[in-house]
C-alpha cells in the first residue's frame, strides 16, 4: 500500500478500531477501545499482562469476534465481511504469534513457503508463474537470509532455539509481502541481545516494504528504536496514545510505571 502523502497524519488509515469491547464470561477484557493506525507506521502496543493485548491482535485478524464495536482493517469492515472477503483480507495481513505457531510437521523451508504455495493454489494457472517452485525457493531463501537464518531451511522447528523460531515466524509472516503485520510479543522469553535483533529486523523489514506494524511487547526500552508511537492499554481502555517523548514527559503515574526511570528523568 503506498501512502497518499509523506505526512504521517494524512496517510491512509490501515487499522481503525471503534468502541471495541470484549467479554470473557463476566470479565470485561476490552471496554470501548478506540484506535487508529496509518500506513507505514510502527505502533507499539503496551500494557500490563492480561490486559488484552494478544486478544486485541486476534480480534484485528478476525480470529476472535468482538462483543461490540467495529474493526476496519485495510478498508474492510470485519464485522460485515463474508468468509471470502476475510480470506482475501488475510492474504494482505500477517501475524507473528507469541508462541511461534510454526507447523511442527513441516521443515522450516516448507513453513516459510507455505503461505505462498497456498496462495498459488487459489490462483488460475496462467497467474501462477510467479509462484513456481523455483521462485518460491528463491523467495524463501531471501526471507530466511533477511532474518539471519540462511542455513536452516531443511531443519524441523523442534531443532531450533526460541529466538530462531521467532525469526522463522517473522520470515513466514513476511513471505507474501503483507501490508499490515501484527507482532504478538515477538521477544517474549528471549535474551536482550536477541530481542534487540528482533526489533531491528522489524524496523528493517518495515522500512524495506513500507508495511505497517503493530508490535505487542513489554520490552519498552528495546522496542523504542522500532516504534513510531505507543498505545497503552490499561483497564480495558486506551490509556495513552503518543510518542515515547510524549509518554516520558507525562506525569501520569501509570505511564511513569511503564516508561520507568526514563520517564522519571524527564519529569
Amino acid at each position: 500500500m503506498s501512502p497518499a502523502t509523506d505526512q504521517p497524519g494524512q496517510r491512509e488509515v490501515v487499522l481503525r478500531v471503534e468502541n471495541l469491547s470484549l467479554w470473557f464470561g463476566e470479565v470485561c477484557v476490552l471496554d470501548g477501545v478506540d484506535f487508529e493506525m496509518r500506513a507505514g507506521e510502527v505502533v507499539g502496543l503496551i500494557g500490563p499482562g492480561g490486559v488484552g493485548k494478544t486478544v486485541f491482535c486476534k480480534l484485528c485478524c478476525g480470529l476472535l469476534e468482538p462483543d461490540g464495536g467495529r474493526i476496519e482493517v485495510l478498508g474492510q469492515d470485519l464485522s460485515g465481511a463474508s468468509g471470502k472477503e476475510r480470506q482475501a483480507l488475510r492474504e494482505r495481513i500477517g501475524l507473528v504469534f507469541q508462541n511461534y505457531a510454526l507447523f511442527d510437521f513441516m521443515t522450516v523451508g516448507d513453513n516459510v513457503a507455505f503461505p505462498m504455495r497456498q496462495r498459488a493454489s487459489h490462483l488460475a494457472k496462467d497467474q501462477r508463474e510467479a509462484f513456481s517452485e523455483e521462485n518460491i525457493a528463491a523467495k524463501v531463501q531471501e526471507r530466511l537470509a533477511e532474518v539471519d537464518l540462511p542455513r536452516v531451511r531443511h531443519l524441523m522447528p523442534n531443532e531450533l532455539s526460541g529466538g530462531m523460531k521467532k525469526r522463522v515466524g517473522l520470515a513466514r509472516a513476511n513471505i507474501n509481502d503483507p501490508e499490515l503485520i501484527f507482532f504478538d510479543d515477538p521477544t517474549a522469553g528471549l535474551d536482550p541481545v536477541t530481542s534487540s535483533k528482533i526489533f531491528n529486523l522489524i524496523r528493517k523489514t518495515q522500512a524495506q516494504r513500507n508495511s505497517s506494524c503493530l508490535v505487542v511487547s513489554h520490552d519498552i526500552d528495546r522496542m523504542r528504536p522500532a516504534c513510531d508511537r505507543y498505545i497503552l492499554l490499561y483497564q480495558g481502555k486506551v490509556h495513552f496514545s503518543g510518542t515515547a517523548q510524549q509518554a516520558m514527559a507525562s506525569k501520569d503515574p501509570v505511564l511513569r510505571d511503564f516508561f520507568g526511570k526514563e520517564a522519571g528523568l524527564i519529569a
Binding site: 486476534k58 485478524c61 478476525g62 480470529l63 480470506q87 482475501a88 488475510r90 492474504e91 495481513i93 500477517g94 501475524l95 504469534f97 507469541q98 508462541n99 505457531a101 510454526l102 507447523f103 511442527d104 507455505f114 503461505p115 497456498q118 496462495r119 493454489s121
Partner: protein, 257 residues
Amino acid sequence: MNPLRTIGRTFLETSDTVGGITLVVWQILKALLPPKFDREQTWLNLYKVGVKSYPIVIMTSLFTGAIMVIQSGQYVKATGATGLLGWGAGYAVLAEIGPVLIGLMFSGRVGANNTAELGTMRVTEQIDALRTLAIDPMHYLVVPRFLSMVSMLLLLTALGDLFALIGGALTSQFVLDVNWRVFFQGVVNSSLLDEYLTGLTKGVVFGASISVVSCYYGLGVTGGAAGVGRAVNSCVVTSAIGIFVWDYLITYIVNGL
C-alpha cells in the same frame, strides 16, 4: 449433589456434543460439494491412516478368525459337521465381528492420534496460524482426514476380512484337523456376499463416524496438555459408542426389522 442438576448438566453437555458433531458434518459436506480440500494432505493422511494401520489390522483379523473357529470347533467336532465351520466363522467375521473389531482398533490407533494431533495444533496456535494465512482448517485439516479415514477403513475392512478367513483356515487345519479347503468351501457355499457387503458398509460408516468425532474433539481442545488428554479420552469413548450404535442401526436396517 442435586440429581436434577446432574441430569440437566448431562443433557446440556450431550446436546453440545451432538450439536458440535452435526456442525462438523455440515462443514465437511459444504467442503465436499463442490470439493475443496488439500490434495497433498489427503495423500499424506491416506498413508498415515491406511498403510501404517495394515499390521495391526492383519494381526487383529488373523486372531479374530482363529478365535471364531476355536469357539465353534467343539460343536463341529462333536457333530462332524465340518462344512459348517467356514459358514459359522465367515458369517460372524464378515458381517459383525470383523468390522466392529477393526473399527475399534482403528478408533484407538487413528482416531485418538488424530484428536491428539489436532488438539496439539489447537493449543500451540497452529490452527489460528492457518486461519491467519487465509487457509480454512476445514479444507486443509478436516476434509483430508475424513476422506482418508472413510476410504481406508473400507479397504482395511476388506483386508481384515481376508486375513480373518486365513486365520480361520489355518486354525481349522492345524488345531481342529479340518482341511483348510473344507473351511473355504464352507465359506463359498454359504453365499456370504450380503454379509460381506454389510461389513464393508459398516467399515465406511464407522470410518466417517470416527473421523468426525476425532476432528470434533481435536478442534475443540482447550486448556493445554491436560485438555488434549481429556479430548483424546472423550474421542475414544464417543467413537466406541458410535461404532456400536451405528452397528446396531445398520444391522437393524439390513435385517429389515
